[in-house]
């Protein structure tokens, strides 16, 4: 159950990033898994240089924010007017470039970051012993999601982003520079994945391919929750986390099969996802 909560919280955060990018810009970022991976590696480098886990988290998140903004400026923005398929192809190509760049620089073997001293050891939960760091992860991710929620629902920027999800053209017509907003959203969305990447690094070791599996799980989360829906991403993430961990306890071989079965069920019963919007199809 707790494993499911940890995984679910992480998936919720990563999926929120993917879903706000898609919702606002209309671009499905296939390099989102690579962002997760880059966050982990950037954090690893920062940790190696300073030995501070807090610095590692900050570095991981900021580095991916910068990567996201640059990627949007240089490439993605030329694809807004091109078909969805082209956007998918180019982000897919970029994800390969990122993964192979990291492989080139760090090799394929797995790297680990130890959990910070304040998160090491195990905690007595009354009925079981549990690694403290995993509890910390739930806390950190909850704070990050709350921050994302505040940005989206309590600030001017968030209001524009949510308006943009409904109708980007209209927002543009109102005299708001949508393209600047797009850049910020892409950066924030990427950062959510990068942040999750470094937070998760002490739990699961780092390899260049770590993003691929996460990306596929994120897709399932988003399909279950409804594309473009922030609450849907959180709900979908939590549900998926539980499915994965509960099935793993019984038979790990069936964990993913169950996850995809759940997705199929949602698709059959509610094709738009649990909290999907009617617009943007």
């Amino acid at each position: 159950m707790f494993n499911g909560l940890v995984l679910g919280a992480l998936l919720a955060l990563i999926s929120s990033g993917l879903t706000i990018i898609y919702g606002t810009l209309g671009v499905l970022n296939l390099a989102h898994g690579a962002m997760f991976m880059l966050g982990g590696y950037a954090g690893y480098v920062a940790f190696g240089a300073t030995g501070s886990f807090v610095v590692a988290i900050a570095a991981g998140a900021l580095f991916v924010l910068v990567v996201g903004v640059v990627m949007e400026r240089v490439i993605i923005r030329h694809f807004y007017s091109r078909p969805n398929e082209d956007q998918i192809l180019v982000t897919f190509g970029l994800s390969i470039v990122y993964v192979e760049l990291v492989r080139f620089a760090f090799g394929s073997q797995s790297l680990t970051i130890p959990p910070p001293p304040w998160g090491a050891g195990v905690t007595q939960l009354g009925f079981m012993l549990y690694p403290t760091y995993r509890l910390v992860v739930v806390g950190i991710v909850a704070v990050a999601l709350l921050a994302l929620y505040i940005v989206l629902y309590r600030t001017r920027l968030g209001m524009i982003v949510r308006a943009g999800i409904e109708d980007a053209l209209m927002v543009d017509s109102l005299g708001i520079n949508v393209y600047r907003i797009f850049m910020i959203v892409f950066g924030i969305g990427a950062m959510a994945a990068g942040f999750a990447g470094i937070v998760n690094a002490p739990v699961v070791s780092l390899t260049p391919d770590v993003g691929e599996m996460i990306l596929v799980q994120t897709f399932v989360v988003v399909v279950i929750g409804g594309v473009g829906s922030f609450p849907g991403a959180i709900l979908g993430g939590l549900i998926s986390g539980q499915i994965l961990s509960i099935t793993s306890m019984i038979n790990p071989g069936y964990a993913y099969v169950m996850l995809f079965a759940a997705m199929t069920l949602v698709l059959v019963l509610r094709p738009r996802g649990l909290m999907g919007l009617r617009s943007r199809d």
Binding site: F92, L94, I96, V223, F260
Partner: protein
Amino acid sequence: MSTPPRSSAGPRRYPFLVEGLTALGLIAGPFVLPLLSFAPNTVNQILIWGLFGLGFDILFGFTGLLSFGQSAFFGTGGFIAAYLLTQNILTSVPLALLIGTVGAMVTGVIVGLIALRRTGIYFAMITVAIAEMFYFLENSPLSAWTGGENGIPGVPTPIIVLPGFTWKVGTGWAMYNFLAICLFVGVVVALRIVRSPVGKILSAIRDNPLRAEALGHSVAAYKLTAFVIAAGYAGLAGGLLGVLQGFMPPDAFSFDTSGQLVMQTAIGGVGTLFGPLLGATVWLFLRDFLQSTLNLGSAWKLVLGLVFVLLVCFLRRGLIGGLVDLYKLACHRAEVEAEAPEETPMPIVTAAEPMPPKHRDGDFEAGVILKATGLTKRYGGLLANSNIDFTVKVGELRGIIGPNGAGKSTFFKMLTCEVPPSSGTIVFEDKDITGKGVTEVCQLGLTKSYQVNQLFTRLTVRENLTIAALAELRGKFRLDLFRNPAKIKGLSEQVNHTLDLVSLTARADTTVSALAYGEKRRLEIGLALATSPSLLLLDEPLAGMSPSERVATVKLLKSIAKGRTMIVIDHDMDSLFELVEWITVLQEGKVLTEGTPDQIKNDPVVKEAYLGGLHE
């Protein structure tokens, strides 16, 4: 005007040109490719990827469905064939390959039914997820059959036994011969499919699925067809991979397999059938070259990734598309300039006699053709149409007017069954069509031309009309995958006739995106006409036309109204009063009044509706 590049609807000048060139290329392969330092094993892999890509290109390039889950079918076909052969259930390799292909197609039906519930990026995401599920299924729950992470070793090479002759296929170039034959058959089949009526409809679905549906084609069924065809090609290619390597690797199911296929297709050129083959050649050549000659080791994939990103950014249609553009630039520069978009003026008098509506079963001769009772449409709190009673008699030419927001277009959408009414019934030719789909209603003989053009923009004018006519001639779904459209009785007559009717004969082989606005408007009407409807709805046919075009279009509408019932919405009162016999006025979702043009012209209630009343 220059000769059209490829008039695909008309008879082709060299009927088997592409097939012949493919055969020549495949025969020349073993002589030419070694000179370019290709190893036989690499070439054999290229052939397998090319075959795999044929199906994928039909799915992505021709139908517009980008799947990232083709590995599921590649693996399924491969493992079924490998299992049958290694467990000595079968000894005939071709038979095992066939069963693997069929297995992949059956899987394709099941997966397609789930994935095709959504389109666009959703479809891409779902295919990724489903393919990944297959990977996990192979790896653990089914590992007793598939060998899990070890795959299936010991797949035998084929022995072909024909009467009086036995061919024991070896490895290397001997295997090439076997694979080349498979690829050649694959190419011939794919070409037939692409040129068949089904192929035409698939490209229509890629361009505008909504209109394809409204013209009476069962889009869902055709999409599934394309999906299953792609699965079949993938299954065969997967089986051949096992035969080539003597080992069925679990990697066949990996996301990388799907990704590589997508990238190779995009590199080579989407929608060309040969793009994947060219893409695979480039891909595998670069891989070997970077790895062995430049000693880049694992960085080869980084270089290929960069090349791919650059290609997607700058060469949208892949290498083949780029070569075609280059060729056109070199040879046809002068001709292209001469062919600057010149709009054909619309002749005032249409020479062609309109085609009578097709008589469908249960001939309907006289009386009331359409009767709507109590039609209501609610959008949340907004009442777009409330309680409309509306009756049209056979042969009538009816006009509908009303201020903006009166609910005219909503009313039309309900009549054609694009949106279901909140309450009320619609009876067309004595059949209750309430709650039916737009496809079915079009097949019954009721269709509409749209207020905003809904055309197949990447196809030519002739192809557009062909698609509309095919719906009427073939019904909403038919699996004539190998039929030559030129042999469909009445098709070319119907298309040529409609071309003539809307005065687009001179522009028949022009791509729609190159047409002028007025021409597009005429084609929009032509599309609806080519389905030979007995009741034709026209939603603002005159919108955006110049005064002279309006006069000509009114003439056209008058001529096609002979022997046909029509309902016309328009804001151009003068034209409408001249055109129709009876007018219904809608206001705020209700029928305000009805009458002859003269009665409506002088009705104070109508004037008030348009100019505003005094009592508010």
